[in-house]
């Protein structure tokens, strides 16, 4: 009975640790808790009771800082005209309402960047920025493989790739949905 009680106390503590960790990975925390079957939760709880001395240089509890909601910009809502514009630009469709929610979540996740002070910091686009990269001489060294490459295309005439009629904008969103629905494998 005493053992049982100790167990329950520990369980509460453990869940609190999980629950109080910062909201950066809010979904993460929830799912980790969910993932643990009662059995694995027990084994996690039992672990601190083992005789192993914890190395003091290894942090014993999560060190991430909590990011308060009020430090983030307001959550983004994607208006209908932007949905249309993105689909035209990306040439892929959201397919469902869920696809749109997925984008809004991705933006929300990215919003955490604004907590970081980057004033005076230069953007970095390559880790090789500090060295001269190898450049070969500007002469043709290979090629003459047009036929081989054309073979990979579904539709060619002589040495040309064939495309359907061009310069026709995508139809309106509703019509698009109908077209895409019918285009299956």
């Amino acid at each position: 009975m005493i053992k049982m009680l100790a167990f329950q106390t520990l369980r509460v503590v453990s869940l609190e640790i999980l629950g109080s960790s910062c909201n950066l990975l809010a979904n993460n925390v929830r799912s980790i808790t969910k993932r643990c079957s009662p059995r694995s939760l027990q084994s996690q709880i039992l672990r601190p009771l083992s005789s192993h001395q914890h190395n003091l240089k290894v942090p014993k509890v999560p060190t991430w800082e909590h990011v308060p909601e009020e430090e983030l910009p307001r959550p983004t809502k994607i208006p209908a005209d932007l949905v249309d514009r993105l689909e035209r630009l990306a040439l892929v469709d959201f397919r469902t309402q869920q696809g749109l929610e997925c984008l809004e979540k991705a933006i929300r996740f990215a919003d955490q960047l604004h907590v970081v002070d980057t004033s005076g910091v230069e953007p970095m686009d390559s880790v090789l920025e500090d060295r001269a990269l190898y450049l070969r001489d500007d002469t043709v060294t290979e090629g003459d493989c047009a036929e081989e490459l054309l073979k990979l295309a579904k539709n060619t005439v002589e040495e040309y790739f064939v495309a359907p009629p061009g310069n026709i904008p995508l139809p309106k969103r509703e019509e698009r949905a109908a077209i895409l629905r019918h285009s299956e494998f």
Partner: protein, 521 residues
């Protein structure tokens, strides 16, 4: 024989204990026996046998090409292979057969290594579970190990666990002993993550040290070919062959040294091991934490200097990665339009409609989602706010590492993943974005900063599943990193899967005896 390391097999060839064709046949049989793992998308049986015969002829003449001659290897299906289809586990490239070999594939073939097949993955390497590919999920070989079946309380066949990803097929191939070496790709942890969950060694070299030519790009500024093996010294042999300038990849850098054998008796007395305190992230399992502490102890007891250090921007690294990854994906995926190669839709009312329907049919939800958010971050009104902001945060993260390594730290010791492998059923309860944000949390900073990093298998969890730890080194210090990794490997006695090979005396059932040692903490 199948459970041996690459080095041991190479020796067995020379001593005539086994021939390349015999070994190739054994591996092919084992691929058939382990088919339920779904580790391979394409098995190149005929090509493998042909190569094995050629290798055998060289051995008989006493002129083998090197330590890789006759060694079976596997390649993730996002590296181009001449005349062998390369799908990226996507409908988009389901029938694509490239006319050329990726540089890394060519280098291995030139050494006489024998290609067994192309391995399964998440579609276009976007994922951390190997559960989101057009050819179905990969199963972790440890799902069927005695340790998991008895300790993990797996009640039925449906309790199988994931491999991690996105190079899950490559890790499963090496863990299940169907190949001695496998190529993965590593953009945010895609080689190290499945390496950790499948109990094999995984190396992500310094950015630029290994050519990306022929690797179908995900994030050009972070992609690196990865190496998966059953021992550290095997990975060193492979890196020695693969590294160096490639005229076909202008982002390659010269190798700092020819990578000869690693010293067996590397001394850690003179090294400084940093423990970055920010790598205790929310959700880290108690068991992984205990192993992290245990290995820190090992270093300390051997006389290494172990210091807690700080990489202050770590918690924003995954956010930075998220934005940079999606934007580069949006740009990279623009090439798939149905015109020159890959899937092409039947819809042909206009070019735009053909493009849109080809991409609608060819990409899964994950890929489409990343293309859309990438395009959003790149919109004129968002470009500075998200994309350039992420590039600035990238510099802060890279600078964090620079400061730590500049202060005398030789190598950083961290967990590779938060927990051991999840059951497939549990893993798929959350969407891909959430999963990637959890799974890549410790691995993607090394990609952001272009640093070499490895995952070393350390011990089995109470569920009987592998736990790995990560070591990160300064740029181009890959060899020193491997030396330290080998030192750890020699001390943790990680068990190989006991059902590996029943003809083998020396390693018969190591799962039981060694496991007792490793879990005694």
């Amino acid at each position: 024989m199948l459970g041996l390391t690459l080095k041991e097999v190479s020796l067995a060839f020379r001593e005539g204990k086994i021939s390349p064709t015999e070994l190739c046949r054994k591996c092919l049989n084992r691929i058939k026996k382990t088919q339920r793992l779904n580790a391979y998308i394409t098995v190149t049986e005929e090509f493998a046998m042909k190569q094995a015969r050629q290798s055998e002829a060289r051995l008989l003449q006493g002129i083998p090409k090197g330590p890789l001659d006759g060694i079976p290897f596997a390649v993730k299906d996002n590296f181009c292979t001449a005349n062998i289809r390369t799908t990226c586990a996507s409908k988009m490239l389901k029938d694509y057969t490239p006319p050329y070999n990726a540089t890394v594939v060519q280098k291995l073939l030139d050494q006489g290594a024998v290609l067994m097949g192309k391995t399964n993955m998440d579609e276009f390497a976007m994922g951390a579970g190997s559960t989101d590919g057009a050819f179905g999920p990969v199963r972790n070989p440890w799902s069927y190990s005695d340790s998991y079946r008895t300790q993990g309380g797996a009640a039925s066949d449906s309790d199988w666990v994931i491999t991690g990803g996105s190079s899950g097929g490559s890790a499963a191939a090496v863990a299940s002993c169907t190949s001695y070496l496998a190529l993965g790709s590593d953009t945010g942890g895609s080689t190290r993550n499945p390496g950790a969950l499948c109990g094999v060694f995984a190396l992500k070299p310094t950015y630029g040290l290994v050519s990306r030519h022929g690797l179908i790009p995900l994030v050009n500024s972070m992609d690196v070919p990865g190496i998966i093996t059953r021992s550290v010294s095997d990975a060193a042999i492979a890196l020695g062959v693969l590294q160096g300038i490639d005229v076909r990849d202008s982002t390659t850098v010269p190798a700092p040294s020819a990578l000869a054998e690693l010293p067996e008796d590397f001394d850690v007395k003179n090294i400084c091991v940093g423990i970055p305190k920010e790598y205790h992230a929310p959700g880290l399992s108690e068991e992984t934490l205990a192993q992290w502490s245990r290995v820190a102890d090992l270093f300390e007891k051997a006389g290494a200097r172990v210091e807690q250090v700080s990489l202050p921007h770590t918690q924003y690294s995954i956010v930075c990665y998220h934005v940079l990854c999606h934007t580069e994906v949006a740009s990279n995926m623009a090439r798939f339009d149905g015109l020159e190669y890959g899937h092409r839709s039947e819809m042909k009312s206009s070019t735009e409609v053909m493009y849109a329907s080809t991409r609608h049919e060819g990409f899964n939800d994950v890929v489409r989602g990343r293309i859309l958010s990438g395009n959003y971050f790149l919109l004129k009104q968002n470009y500075q706010h998200y994309f350039v902001k992420a590039q600035k945060v990238r510099r802060l993260i890279a600078d964090d590492f620079r400061h730590v390594f500049g202060s005398g730290v030789d190598v950083l010791l961290t967990p590779t993943t938060l927990t051991d492998a999840a059951c497939y059923h549990d893993f798929t309860q959350e969407d891909n974005r959430t999963r990637s944000a959890q799974e890549d949390v410790f691995t993607q900073p090394a990609n952001i900063a272009g640093l070499p990093a490895v995952s070393v298998p350390i011990a089995l969890s109470r569920r009987g599943l592998p736990i790995g730890l990560q070591l990160i080194g300064p740029a181009l210090e890959d060899k020193k990193l491997l030396c330290v990794a080998q030192w750890v490997e020699q001390r943790v006695n990680f068990p190989s899967i006991s059902d590996c090979d029943n003809t083998q005396e020396s390693r018969k059932d190591p799962g039981v005896t060694r496991r007792e040692q490793t879990s005694a903490i």
